[in-house]
């Protein structure tokens, strides 16, 4: 026989207060997770603070000329980042010019055209590209690609040399023995850009593919049902929907391309000229400059290198933040409303 506990009438029954506050184990978990999340911010901020603090003496010492001077002669107390900044931008742009169409088409093929049995293989192959260390890409570019890239550069100069971008000084593309001038077309920002493109490609491709795969199937089917061809469907539904992802992935890739170091260091023959002639030998990027000069830098030189690094840090931060904002917006499907 069971008896119910007799309610003491004198005790007032109070409803349990409802609180969103975590208690017990939850609370520990929330706090530890929050701490871990905060460390990321602290580390990034710390990097920025450290770089800025180290760069301060250089920036005050050289003033505005730090941004307008092209040569880098710390021994002679003349240095500036105009040349390396131009080089960084040009290498990144070459890389994006190659990587963007490749990444976009690869992503489209994988998400829309590839048969199901091939899809997973292709995805892992593209991911594998991201796993190849950058020094390998550098060697690949140096030994395998550069001889052909140089010949292609000669062809470009011969036919499009009137475009300032493809002009090469000190070399005659129509020479009978091109062998003699081929070195003017090697070790260039163009060659370095090819290697960097291969490192950027998987990252951009992955972002684009993810966004494409989020296209609402209903809208795709609707387009097909209205009589659109497959390409018409992609143009009308997938691409507009994924526009944010395309831009975001490209900018993420750009951020990576700006900071790529070892492959550039290996391929590019260091020179400090601010120039747009991408096919011509020589050039330098901020990160390659730091990697190349860090080992034997004195204290003031180190500060100058870190100042250059600080500028690069700010640029990549801005590029990546914009990219993240665009990608985030595209996730809500904002692209389709347009």
């Amino acid at each position: 026989m069971t008896t119910l506990p007799v309610q003491d009438a004198t005790v007032e029954v109070e409803p349990r207060t409802i609180s969103r506050k975590a208690t017990g184990a939850d609370r520990v978990f929330v706090h530890s997770i929050r701490a871990v999340g905060a460390t990321v911010l602290v580390i990034t901020g710390g990097v920025g603070l450290f770089l800025g603090w180290q760069a301060w003496p250089t920036l005050t010492h050289y003033g505005l000329s730090f941004f307008t001077e092209a040569s880098w002669q710390p021994e002679a107390d003349i240095l500036g980042i105009r040349a390396v900044l131009t080089g960084t931008v040009m290498v990144a742009l070459v890389a994006m010019a190659i990587a963007f169409p490749l990444a976009l088409l690869t992503a489209l093929y994988i998400s829309e055209y590839a048969p199901a049995f091939l899809r997973s293989t292709l995805v892992s192959l593209v991911d594998l590209m991201a796993a190849v260390p950058s020094i390998i890409w550098g060697l690949w570019g140096y030994f395998l690609i550069m001889p052909y890239a140089a010949e292609f550069a000669v062809w470009l100069d011969r036919n499009l040399g009137w475009v300032p971008l493809f002009d090469v000084h000190n070399a005659d593309p129509d020479a009978a023995l091109i062998d003699a001038a081929i070195s003017n077309y090697s070790f260039s920002m163009f060659c370095a850009g090819i290697a960097v493109a291969m490192m950027v490609l998987p990252m951009s491709c992955a972002v684009m593919r993810q966004v494409f795969s989020q296209t609402p199937p209903g809208e795709k089917e609707a387009a097909l049902a209205l009589g659109a061809t497959k390409w018409g469907m992609i143009r009308a539904v997938v691409l507009p929907f994924g526009r944010g992802g395309i831009i975001g992935g490209t900018m993420l890739g750009l951020g990576r391309a700006l900071g790529e170091t070892i492959a550039v260091l290996l391929i590019l023959s260091p020179s400090f000229e601010s120039k747009w002639r991408i096919l011509e030998i020589g050039g330098n990027t901020v990160s390659a400059l730091i990697a190349g000069r860090f080992g034997d830098a004195s204290k003031s030189q180190l500060s100058a290198l870190l100042a250059a690094g600080f500028v690069l840090f700010l640029i990549t931060l801005v590029v990546n933040t914009i990219a993240a904002m665009i990608v985030n917006r595209s996730r809500s499907g904002a692209g389709t409303d347009a």
């Binding site: 021994e75 550069m146 140089a150 005659d172 020479a175 023959s269 020589g282 190349g292 830098a297 030189q301």
Partner: protein, 551 residues
């Protein structure tokens, strides 16, 4: 006492027993040592490291340039450094270049020649016997001579002409001891060529590269060598230690010496040249054992290679050095014992030159400072007499065997003669003496015997310059065939494989061709644009007329 505690105590006891075992039981314990620095000496150092590895000595060496080596050492992030030049105090432009108070000593490790390797093709054949005077080299690297068909180059090669091809000097982009040695030589020998280009006097570790010039810069000797021998290397010339072209089977420039002979930096020619090196003998000086090379540049011996130098290891000598331990010091001492003795036998075959006796001896004195810093270092039985260094026989310590048997240069290597057809970069000196290096006679031997400056100076000039005429029958070292009488002007055909260029300039295009094909291109372009449209229009008209007819 319960069980787990007893177990832990037992374990702790046995561990303590283990820890107390080494030391007295094993005579030598080694610990891994790490160093950075010169890429000039890197090849021979890596070979030594591989050799001692089986003895339990773990040495890690990374190149990166002498400047980096000195800096890493000064920051106490390495156990030793290799550098071509000593700490500069304040360097050429007022930057600090010191050891930051870390006590150290210089220790010569190997000699060698800074070679100029190049890629120059005539009709797809690599030129392998280029000769250049010092002045021409200085002018090439200061951009005064910019084409291979320059009359100065033709003159150095006794009238032999090279194709019209831009010269692309390859220089180091990092702080480099090779650059420092090369610029020291230019500054001392050709100040009126070097100084206007550099803008000031003195040496530099960073080669000044003019923007917009044909110069190519690369980091590290490896990269320089790779660039020159690469697909785009035609017309390039760069400076590296002789071992790099020897390993890559690439030719080097024969550089003209004071006696008017063009020589290659084989171990013999370097050894002969360095008999005139002035070594700082003041033991109390911080610069003890460092080199002054003015005498080397101007060595009158016909066998001397002018741009020869020693490479140095910087070892920590402080007793309270934060990085060093007894085991590390022992490793360093034994590693250097091997390198200075048996290791020197490998120097020649690898494109370096072994150290002469007096420097090996002095090197041991420097190593003794390790024991001074730490009595636990064992240096017994490690002295010069037990050594197996190829420059001396152990019986007569003041004798440099290598400079003795250095062969006289071939007659066709003299200025105004030749050029010889023998290939360079083979590690064999070009000579008229039969059998090449090994069987060389002793002519001029007494002269170069001494290793310290004055003795060498007294005698080496004596017989030297006259020697080529003495050579009775010139025998080609490769084919073994006798060639024409030594000294006669036309011994060029020694191997019969000499490549000659007769540069003829062709215009890139003919104006008539250009005009014709230009108009053709315009016509084609017009056709490409217009024809499809006209065709469509024509088709449509025909269709409408046909349709109209049917209606």
């Amino acid at each position: 006492m319960n069980r787990p505690i007893r177990l832990i105590v037992a374990l702790a006891l046995s561990l303590a027993g283990l820890a107390s075992l080494p030391g007295p039981a094993h005579a030598t314990t080694y610990a891994q040592i790490e160093g950075t620095g010169s890429t000039w000496s890197e090849l021979i150092l890596q070979q030594w490291i591989a050799d001692v590895d089986s003895n339990g000595m773990k040495v890690v060496y990374t190149g990166g340039g002498s400047t980096k080596g000195r800096k890493d050492f000064s920051q106490a992030s390495t156990d030793f450094a290799i550098s071509e030049i000593p700490y500069q105090g304040t360097d050429e432009r007022g930057q600090s270049d010191t050891s930051n108070g870390r006590p150290f000593a210089y220790l010569p490790i190997v000699a060698g020649g800074t070679a100029f390797t190049y890629q120059l093709k005539i009709g797809n054949e690599l030129v392998r016997n280029l000769r250049l005077s010092g002045e021409t080299i200085a002018k090439i690297f200061t951009l005064q001579i910019t084409n291979w068909n320059d009359p100065a180059i033709t003159k150095d090669n006794n009238g032999r002409t090279f194709p019209s091809l831009p010269i692309k000097p390859v220089v180091r982009s990092d702080g480099s001891g090779t650059t420092a040695q090369f610029t020291t030589w230019m500054d001392k020998q050709y100040p009126n060529i070097w100084r206007p280009y550099f803008g000031q006097a003195g040496l530099t570790s960073y080669y000044p590269k003019k923007a917009g010039s044909q110069m190519v810069s690369q980091a590290g000797s490896d990269q320089v060598m790779n660039t020159i021998k690469g697909f785009a290397g035609n017309g390039m010339i760069g400076y590296v230690e002789y071992s790099y072209p020897v390993n890559a089977d690439y030719p080097v420039v024969k550089v003209q010496n004071q006696a008017g002979y063009f020589v290659e930096p084989t171990q013999y020619n370097t050894a002969v040249a360095l008999t005139k090196a002035k070594i700082n003998q003041d033991k109390s000086s911080q610069l003890y054992l460092t080199q002054v090379l003015d005498g080397v540049y101007a060595n009158p011996d016909p066998r001397a290679y002018p741009i020869s130098s020693y490479s140095y290891m910087i070892i920590p000598t402080g007793s309270d050095d934060p990085r060093m331990s007894s085991a590390k010091r022992q490793t360093l001492a034994d590693f250097m014992y091997y390198s200075l003795c048996a290791g020197q036998t490998k120097a020649g075959p690898y494109g370096y030159s072994p150290l002469p006796l007096n420097l090996v001896q002095a090197g041991f004195d420097q190593l003794a400072k390790l024991k001074g810093a730490d009595p636990a270092v064992d240096l017994t039985d490690r002295d010069v007499r037990s050594c197996n260094n190829p420059t001396f026989d152990g019986k007569n310590l003041s004798h440099n065997v290598l400079a003795d048997k250095a062969p006289q240069p071939a007659a066709c290597d003299q200025a105004g003669q030749g050029p010889c057809g023998t290939e360079t970069g083979t590690n064999q000196p070009s000579t008229d003496d039969g059998g090449g290096a090994g069987g060389a006679g002793r002519n001029g031997g007494e002269g170069a015997a001494g290793t310290d400056g004055e003795r060498g100076a007294a005698a080496s000039g004596g017989e030297g310059p006259a020697a080529p005429g003495d050579a009775p029958a010139a025998i080609d070292p490769e084919t073994g065939l006798a060639v024409g009488a030594a000294g006669s002007a036309t011994t060029t055909g020694t191997t019969g494989e000499v490549i000659y260029a007769d540069p003829t300039e062709l215009v890139a295009g003919r104006t008539t061709d250009q005009r014709t094909f230009g108009w053709l291109a315009v016509l084609e372009l017009l056709a490409l644009v217009l024809l499809p449209g006209l065709y469509v229009v024509g088709m449509r008209r025909r269709r409408t007329s046909r349709a109209g007819g049917r209606l």
